[in-house]
């Protein structure tokens, strides 16, 4: 009986620490396991007993790449519990800082982590020698995204200016105007990046994903919307728990998610695009079309292209927000704590990020739940692996191993964000 096990002991070019194991018997892939071994981090337990204002900055620490997403889901969930709605310039500024995060996070993944897979390089450094322009472009894009974070958040990583109700300080009009030139340049670079990525040779694939993303109806989603799926689910964020559940598997310190009574689903750029492509900024919609993307895209290898389109969208959206910006009268609306349960979901670069808090009348968190995108995507990543490895079994060992890694990187997993739970289980035979 021919039996083969492929192990990638330490996955490189992903955020965090994970291992990959595949077992193949008699020419059939029996199992694929994305084993997340990064230590659990207990953020949800850490939040219990903390004031809601602290949660915003504690949660920023969950991720160095997408801290804004964690802060945004936090403030929206708490505001939901307190019955606060943010509108006007404060809402626009939240969208602006989210644009910054998408730009820096996607640019890093596209140019430094994922592109080397398509061009046949071991790393971005090796790729930089032959494609210096593309790498320089990626770095410049990342810098433009970081500039938005620094301007609105006070610093590039783990911003400190976001609070429930708005911001601690809002920028003056002329301060924000300083972002216009760099963002106009970034928009050009983003368009060049879409065109560059469109020329890659993508492995063929057509996956039967159930997509889940926010759908807002009037704008490509960052902070707001209903939770929608490609199978017709359309629910308010507060109904998330009634339709989704988390469960545990022994080989991972991250929980995974499924739709109750249905199955696994994918969140992230492909899902957002499927459910909201018509709401991209015209320049991004046009670029997507030119790059050969239809109204939906089920080939995970082309997720890099959708990411590039989203970078272009975010640059253009940021410029639109800057053009319309009027200074708000107050940096934040009044916040009156109220006992209750709050739900929030926003679109992190990697996908839907759901938070739920139980708060008491003093605004102290009694219970917290955080469902990160990578946790939700884990099962689908394993399903992708089974399918793609099955079709690539005739590849030489090294090429097969590489294809596996590329398949995982399609979903830009952020392992550090995903791990937050540990129940020790020992498997014995």
């Amino acid at each position: 009986m021919a039996r083969k096990t492929i192990k990638v002991g330490y996955l490189s070019r992903v955020e965090g620490e994970a291992r990959l194991e595949l077992s193949i018997r008699d020419g059939t892939v029996r199992a694929a396991r994305l084993a997340i071994f990064e230590s659990p981090r207990f953020f949800e337990a850490l939040l219990r007993g903390r004031h809601f204002d602290e949660a915003v900055d504690i949660n920023a620490r969950i991720c160095g790449i997408c801290p804004v997403a964690y802060q945004m889901s936090t403030v929206h969930a708490v505001e939901d519990a307190f019955g606060i709605r943010i509108a006007g310039p404060l809402r626009a500024l939240r969208r602006l800082i989210y644009c910054g995060e998408w730009i820096e996070s996607h640019a890093l993944h596209i140019c430094m982590l994922h592109a080397p897979d398509f061009l046949g390089y071991e790393s971005a450094i090796a790729m930089a020698r032959d494609h210096p322009q593309a790498v320089t472009r990626g770095l410049a894009l990342k810098k433009a995204g970081n500039a938005i974070l620094a301007k609105l958040g006070g610093r590039e990583i783990h911003p400190v200016n976001i609070r429930v109700g708005g911001f601690y300080r809002v920028p003056r009009k002329r301060e924000l105007a300083e972002l216009v030139d760099p963002l106009e340049r970034a928009r050009d670079l983003a368009l060049e990046t879409v065109r560059w990525v469109a020329g890659f040779d993508f492995p063929r694939s057509e996956r039967p994903y159930t997509f889940v993303a926010l759908r807002h109806g009037r704008e490509y989603p960052f902070n707001e919307g209903r939770v929608a799926s490609s199978d017709g689910l359309d629910i308010p964020v507060r109904a998330y728990d009634a339709h989704f559940e988390e469960y545990q598997v022994p080989h991972s310190t991250a929980l995974r998610s499924r739709i109750r009574g249905a199955g696994h689903y994918l969140t992230g750029p492909l899902a957002r695009y499927h459910l909201n492509a018509d709401l991209l900024r015209p320049v991004a919609r046009e670029a997507a079309k030119e790059a050969g993307l239809g109204p939906s895209c089920r080939n995970p290898y082309t997720s890099i292209l959708v990411r590039a389109v989203e970078v272009l969208h975010a640059c253009d959206e940021a410029l639109a927000i800057l053009a319309d910006y009027e200074e708000p009268e107050q940096p934040a609306v009044a916040v009156e704590p109220k006992a209750g349960v709050g739900h929030g979901a926003t679109e992190a670069p990697r996908g839907l990020l759901y938070h739920r808090y139980v708060l008491d009348g003093e605004g102290i968190i009694r219970d917290a739940r955080i469902v990160p995108p990578t946790a939700q995507n884990q099962a689908v990543i394993e399903e992708d692996l089974v399918e793609h490895v099955q079709r690539s079994l005739d590849l030489p060992e090294e090429a097969l191993r590489h294809r596996c890694e590329q398949t995982v990187r399609n979903h830009d997993p952020c392992i550090s964000c995903a791990t937050h739970f540990l129940k020790l289980e020992v498997e014995r035979e």
């Binding site: 490189s12 955020e15 965090g16 160095g64 790449i65 890093l108 430094m112 971005a124 450094i125 090796a126 930089a128 020698r129 210096p132 790498v135 320089t136 770095l139 990342k142 810098k143 590039e156 990583i157 550090s416």
Partner: protein, 165 residues
């Protein structure tokens, strides 16, 4: 002569990883004119950006190469690729080595780039700086000032000879 930058790299909450910053703080008040100090966490892109426009860059960091704790290393990195010395203590695995090698691949590495590393012992969260590393901090600050053309002073002399290189 072009501009010179001294970067103290590390994270204060991670035990001996703070060494780079501590060296910088030990010498910052005595830097000669034209030499700029800066502290960094060690994230690759930030480091690359910091180095831009400087003719000479001294990077100070902790490492984990297997040598005795407190061992001081001096490497001219402009000429040859950085050896794998275990600098990976930054977020998400893109750190000093990636910054240097990416800058080199893009032709953006400063003309002279020197890495001063102190072998660390413990990088745990909240750990204090271990005694061997603390001693090496003073010694490296003294050596670096000497290299930058600042004459040594008596107060540093007792740090001399405590750590091997």
């Amino acid at each position: 002569m072009g501009r010179t930058l001294v970067i103290g790299i590390g994270r204060e909450q991670r035990g001996d990883d703070a060494a780079g910053r501590l060296v910088l703080r030990a010498l910052v008040d005595r830097l000669p004119p034209g030499v700029e100090p800066v502290e960094e966490e060690g994230e690759a892109m930030a480091l690359m950006e910091r180095m831009e426009g400087f003719d000479t860059v001294h990077m100070i960091d902790a490492c984990r190469s297997g040598a005795a704790p407190g061992t001081i290393l001096r490497l001219e990195v402009s000429a040859a690729p950085l050896p794998e010395l275990g600098f990976q203590v930054s977020t998400h695995g893109m750190g000093l080595v990636e910054a240097v090698e990416l800058a080199r691949a893009l032709g953006r590495l400063p003309r002279r780039c020197i890495l001063h590393a102190i072998e660390g012992e413990c990088f745990d969260f909240g750990a204090p700086v271990s005694p061997a590393v603390a001693a090496a901090v003073g010694e490296l600050a003294r050596r670096l000032l000497e290299e930058l053309g600042v004459a040594g002073k008596g107060e540093d002399d007792d740090a001399r000879g405590r750590s091997g290189s």
